[in-house]
């Protein structure tokens, strides 16, 4: 047991996976000697050698495509895309190949790859470095989309993703890479995938978030608790496949729902959650669902980015409005 940051927990899980399973290999841009631009792979090449941890040329299509080839051969490729803003060239291989190889061959070949990428805003990064486009991936049949919200979650979910027999897009909220420290037990225990975690009980409203937004949600919840308003906070650790049961069960009790994500609103994953409620939770809803999200604009360069991202105040305000319905 030791205290660590989220990015350290990622590193620990990678090291554990490399140690446990000889088929695990890690590659991407600058993941070798440099240890990744965020140090997620720090020290791994030194420890496990350049045959297990290596740099690729600067070519994202290739990184995804070669991962498909390697995974089909039974390796467990864990590839890094340096920033989510550069992940779009991988979609062709993820959608047309990785997510379909098992299906196309009736299980003869499979594609147990993990594509990791830091995502999200809030660190005053340059243009194209603050993306939150998880919804694009959550629409692709055959994929899993997993997002940790804390160091312990990062460790357990990443291990699960690597061990999962199917392709996983694993998005790491870089804004909280070093924001919090948490006890993480390096015992090799994976967390369940396809699961929404309840991180705070409450009976007045259901509040869903993922990644860096979970902290925003929790802060808002704690703030409202001082006034006696109890929000149930759910950590959507796996967006796809989505754990509808936990959502519906919570909203059945609270009757209200607020969803927080930093991605643009239209077609964001919050839409799917709200849609599930419109379909299956309508009779339990006491108030309109609220989405507190990024705007449908290009995320502005960093001088204005804080105005783009959902704030605690905005979440608090949305919850209050939701509670106004009698």
């Amino acid at each position: 047991m030791s205290e660590m940051t989220l990015v350290e927990a990622v590193n620990l899980a990678l090291a554990r996976a490399l140690a446990d399973d000889p088929e695990v290999v890690i590659f991407g841009e600058d993941v070798g000697v440099n240890g990744g631009v965020f140090r997620a792979t720090d020290g791994l090449q030194a420890r496990f050698g350049a045959e297990r941890v290596f740099d690729t040329p600067l070519a994202e299509t290739l990184i995804a495509g070669m991962a498909v080839g390697m995974a089909a051969q039974g390796l467990r490729p864990v590839a890094e895309i340096q920033f989510m803003g550069f992940i779009y060239s991988t979609i062709d291989h993820l959608l047309n190949h990785a997510a379909r190889l098992r299906n196309r061959t009736r299980g003869r070949l499979s594609c147990p790859l993990v594509l990791r990428a830091p995502y999200g805003g809030g660190i005053h990064a340059p243009e194209h470095h603050s993306e939150s486009t998880e919804a694009l991936f959550a629409h692709i049949p055959g994929l899993r989309v997993v997002i940790p919200s804390s160091p312990a979650r990062a460790y357990g979910l990443l291990l699960a993703a690597i061990r999962d027999p199917d392709p996983v897009v694993f998005l790491e909220p870089k804004r909280i890479y070093r924001a919090v420290r948490e006890e993480v037990d390096d015992d090799g225990t994976a967390l369940p995938l396809d699961h929404v975690f309840t991180v705070r009980d409450g009976s007045d409203v259901t509040l869903l978030g993922w990644g860096a937004m979970l902290q925003v949600a929790l802060t808002a919840a704690n703030q409202l608790a001082e006034e006696g308003i109890e929000a149930e906070v759910l950590d959507v650790a796996t967006l796809k496949p989505f754990d509808t049961a936990t959502l519906l069960e919570s909203v059945a009790r609270t009757g209200r729902c607020v969803i927080v994500h930093e991605a643009a609103q239209t077609g964001g994953f919050g839409a799917e959650i709200a849609a599930l409620l419109a379909e299956h939770g309508l009779l339990t809803l006491l108030a309109p669902v609220r989405r507190v999200t990024g705007y449908d604009t290009v995320m502005p360069l960093y001088r204005l980015e804080d105005h783009y991202l959902p704030s605690t105040a905005a979440v608090v305000a949305a919850i209050r409005e939701t509670l106004e319905y009698a």
């Binding site: 495509g65 498909v68 080839g69 299980g107």
Partner: protein, 357 residues
């Protein structure tokens, strides 16, 4: 590769001329009657099968199909040069190569007949299924080759594609990696002159596609893709190099697409019929047959019994194919993930309910 006259624009390795006369002495291993007859049989089976699929397509018994007419020597040449433990990553015009790899006729019919079970090859279990998105296969191939290299296995990935596919970024990204890491991979380009309606000169900044290998820093060689002996030889040499750890090779096999792009295409819209006629003179089957007749005593009745045998094999496969009932619709949920996630159970049940109605 010192005995090839490669490099110049029209230079390409060739053993047999259009009439089937020897223009270059065959290397010992290739002057083998059994091997040559095996290659000829495979080309003949491919062509007969190809014609049958088109006939089935015309009568609505199979979907869109990409004929290999006139290009049989490429697939037969590379497929016969590969070892069983090598791995093929085919494009969609590789009926011949897949046949040689052991993908059954029935499996191929199933695939083109719109059934995923056609890609569940009983034979080459590790070969990739057909790649329809042009160019993707090159990236997969270098991934496979990386796995071979990391595991120190003496295996080679062979990946095929057309002239048009060399314009995709995937192709170059893969070439560059293959060159940088000296991967055990052979790129075989079927340069049949056309990418649907786009001729090579509109497609490529280079005159030869072998030149593309220069962007990866490794050898590119040109071969007469209608001379099955030459294709077999060149690919065999490339496989040896790769297996020995000497890195990748790009093989540009020059051929011609005698048919339409697919059964959904009408090449008459964009291609001069005279051009097509001229290329019939280069037919890879006629060429090898002539050589077998003059050099190896191949007789009219050998030919006839071969054709009969091909027909019988194909008819049996078609009957087998036609006897296979469609999969249950729920099959679409079966291999999506290893285990069906809970989130999808309701959808599968919905489908089952719809079916019962």
């Amino acid at each position: 590769m010192d005995d090839h006259d490669v490099g110049g624009d029209s230079a390409r390795l060739r053993y047999l001329d259009h009439e089937g006369a020897i223009v270059k002495p065959l290397p010992g291993a290739l002057a083998n009657r059994d091997l040559l007859i095996r290659l000829y049989r495979a080309m003949t089976l491919t062509r007969t099968f190809d014609a049958k699929i088109i006939a089935l397509q015309r009568t609505g018994q199979i979907g869109t199909y990409a004929s290999t007419l006139g290009q049989e020597a490429i697939g037969v040449g590379l497929g016969s040069a590969m070892r069983r433990e090598d791995l093929l990553l085919p494009a969609y015009r590789d009926t011949a190569a897949q046949l040689l790899r052991g993908v059954t006729l029935c499996e191929q019919l199933l695939y083109w007949g719109g059934d995923e079970r056609g890609s569940d090859f009983a034979g080459p279990r590790e070969d990739f299924p057909i790649c329809v998105p042009v160019g993707s296969q090159y990236c997969h191939a270098v991934g496979v080759a990386t796995a071979f290299q990391l595991r120190h296995q003496p295996r080679v990935a062979v990946v095929t594609g057309g002239d048009g596919s060399t314009s995709k970024g995937d192709f170059y990204e893969a070439l560059n990696l293959a060159g940088a890491w000296r991967l055990p991979v052979v790129f075989v380009i079927n340069n049949n002159g056309w990418a649907i309606s786009v001729p090579l000169e509109r497609q490529s900044g280079t005159t030869t596609l072998a030149d593309k290998a220069k962007a990866g820093g490794f050898p590119g060689v040109r071969v007469d893709g209608n001379d099955v002996i030459a294709v077999h030889a060149v690919v065999g040499e490339a496989l040896d190099r790769a297996r020995a750890g000497d890195g990748p090779t790009l093989v540009e096999a020059l051929s011609y697409r005698l048919g339409d792009h697919t059964t959904a295409d009408d090449a008459g819209r964009y291609r001069d019929p005279d051009e097509v006629s001229r290329h019939w003179a280069e037919d890879p089957l006629v060429r090898l047959r002539n050589y077998l007749v003059t050099g190896h005593g191949w007789r009219k009745d050998d030919e006839e019994s071969l054709l009969e045998e091909c027909s019988a094999t194909i008819e049996a496969a078609v009957a087998e194919y036609q006897a296979i009932p469609p999969a249950a619709p729920e099959a679409m949920f079966e291999h999506l993930y290893e285990t069906l996630p809970l989130a999808l159970v309701a959808q599968r049940d919905d489908l089952a309910r719809r079916l019962r109605r």
